[in-house]
């Protein structure tokens, strides 16, 4: 195939991470689980890349394009190559689901068992139900139902990829200064004070939940915070990420893998939205870098890998997004400041709202 370079396939022994030794702490085990899954995803991705080259490359290289016998050999080779790729993808889908569920369960009430007891005693009914759903989801991963989980995750990824084009339209719309004909950016934010206060409370709750990333207990609290607010659709600049979070929060009957896939996706979409808004502002170089890097993420698997690889920067970015607000008023101010940057606040907005 013209323009393609040959990538030799060579055997590569799997090397297990050090964290998987038998003598390890609870924290080490948690890291070990995530590390082994990340390693699996990484090696699988490398192998898939190597296998991307189809048999026609060799056919053309040897000048056998018109040879019927050679064409039959290519068909046979490609069929077996596709079968190997399918088996690799199945592993990756399960690994991605496990990674999300590991994160979700670990973060339900604190990743470590030491924190768990305290959290479990104080948890209210709604959280208990969610926790039990998560555990049921984890149990469902045990053979022989891994296949069904894989199908769900694959369908989820397909949905995400399907929605990607709409997402890009939104991003492009913002970049063009809301000149694009995008429904979510056509109408300015309502000037109604009550509405704005609800939004500010939603921002505050989600912000606090996201701050929990530092304590490794973000995902479920983000979901719970989102559940409390039905007004999130009005929060235009962060609409895409919040929509994903709300879908996850509303999806009580979803499989745990699908729900947390949406949560992970929502968090990263929040990051992307905010990076879009903040590019060019003070101290946002890292955000811009993250934003550009995240543009290549198109699947739940890739989103998780991106999170693992950029966790420190993601935390910093989330802080930047929400400005470290610690009160409703500050959240309102941060929200207004953000909205002003993207021109969402009309001149008709009462001054009392802008300053209160």
């Amino acid at each position: 195939m013209p323009g393609k370079e040959k990538q030799a396939i060579s055997p590569n022994e799997a090397v297990l991470p050090k964290e998987l030794s038998s003598d390890r702490s609870a924290e080490g085990r948690e890291r070990g689980r995530q590390t082994v899954l990340a390693k699996l995803q990484e090696q699988g991705a490398v192998l898939l890349k190597k296998l991307r080259l189809d048999g026609s490359f060799h056919l053309e290289r040897l000048g056998l394009a018109d040879n019927r016998e050679a064409e039959q050999a290519v068909e046979k080779y490609d069929a077996r190559r596709q079968e190997i790729m399918k088996r690799i993808r199945e592993k990756l889908v399960i690994a991605a689901t496990l990674a999300m569920l590991t994160m979700g369960t670990g973060k339900a009430l604190g990743a470590e068992l030491g924190d768990l007891e305290k959290g479990f005693q104080s948890v209210h009914t709604e959280q208990s139900v969610l926790l039990e759903e998560e555990i049921l989801g984890m149990q469902a991963l045990q053979p022989p139902i891994q296949e069904s989980i894989g199908e769900i995750t694959a369908a989820n990824e397909a949905d995400m990829e399907e929605g990607q084009s709409d997402d890009l339209v939104l991003v492009q719309g913002w970049k063009m200064g809301q000149e694009a004909n995008v429904p979510t950016t056509e109408k300015p934010l309502s000037a109604d004070e009550k509405e704005l206060r609800k939004i500010s409370q939603a921002v505050s709750d989600i912000m606090n939940a996201c701050m929990g990333l530092q304590k490794d207990n973000c995902l479920l609290t983000v979901t719970q915070a989102t559940m409390k607010h039905v007004v999130l659709d009005s929060l235009i600049p962060f609409k895409r990420g919040l929509t994903r979070l709300k879908e996850a929060a509303d999806g009580e009957k979803m499989e745990a893998g699908e729900r947390f896939g949406k949560v992970v996706s929502g968090i990263f979409d929040l990051l992307t939205d905010a990076a879009t808004i903040h590019i060019g502002g003070k101290g946002v170089i890292k955000l811009a870098q993250l934003y550009r890097a995240y543009q290549g993420v198109t699947s739940a698997t890739a989103a998780y890998t991106f999170y693992v690889e950029n966790k420190k920067d993601v935390l910093m970015a989330l802080k930047t997004i929400f400005g470290g607000a610690s009160s409703e008023q500050q959240a309102v101010e941060n929200t207004l400041a953000t909205l002003e940057k993207v021109g969402q606040i009309s001149e008709d907005t009462p001054a009392s709202i802008q300053t209160n």
Partner: protein
């Protein structure tokens, strides 16, 4: 569900995840070896077909359509 049950499930699930990861890594390595052998056999087959074609040309046989 009480805390002890949760702890037990968490531990068992964690062990199952690590076991899955370990076996999957081994399986990936096996798949990589299988792919390498497959590609080598395929290239060898094509080179054999090419050699036959050249031989036919050298012997004056008409080239395949």
């Amino acid at each position: 569900m009480n805390l002890q049950t949760y702890k037990k499930l968490k531990q068992e699930t964690g062990e199952a995840i690590v076991a899955f990861g370990e076996s999957s890594l081994s399986e990936l390595a096996a798949l990589e070896r299988e792919a390498a052998v497959l590609e080598k056999e395929f290239v060898t087959e094509l080179e054999g077909i090419k050699a036959e074609e050249l031989l036919k040309k050298i012997n004056g046989a008409p080239a395949s359509e």
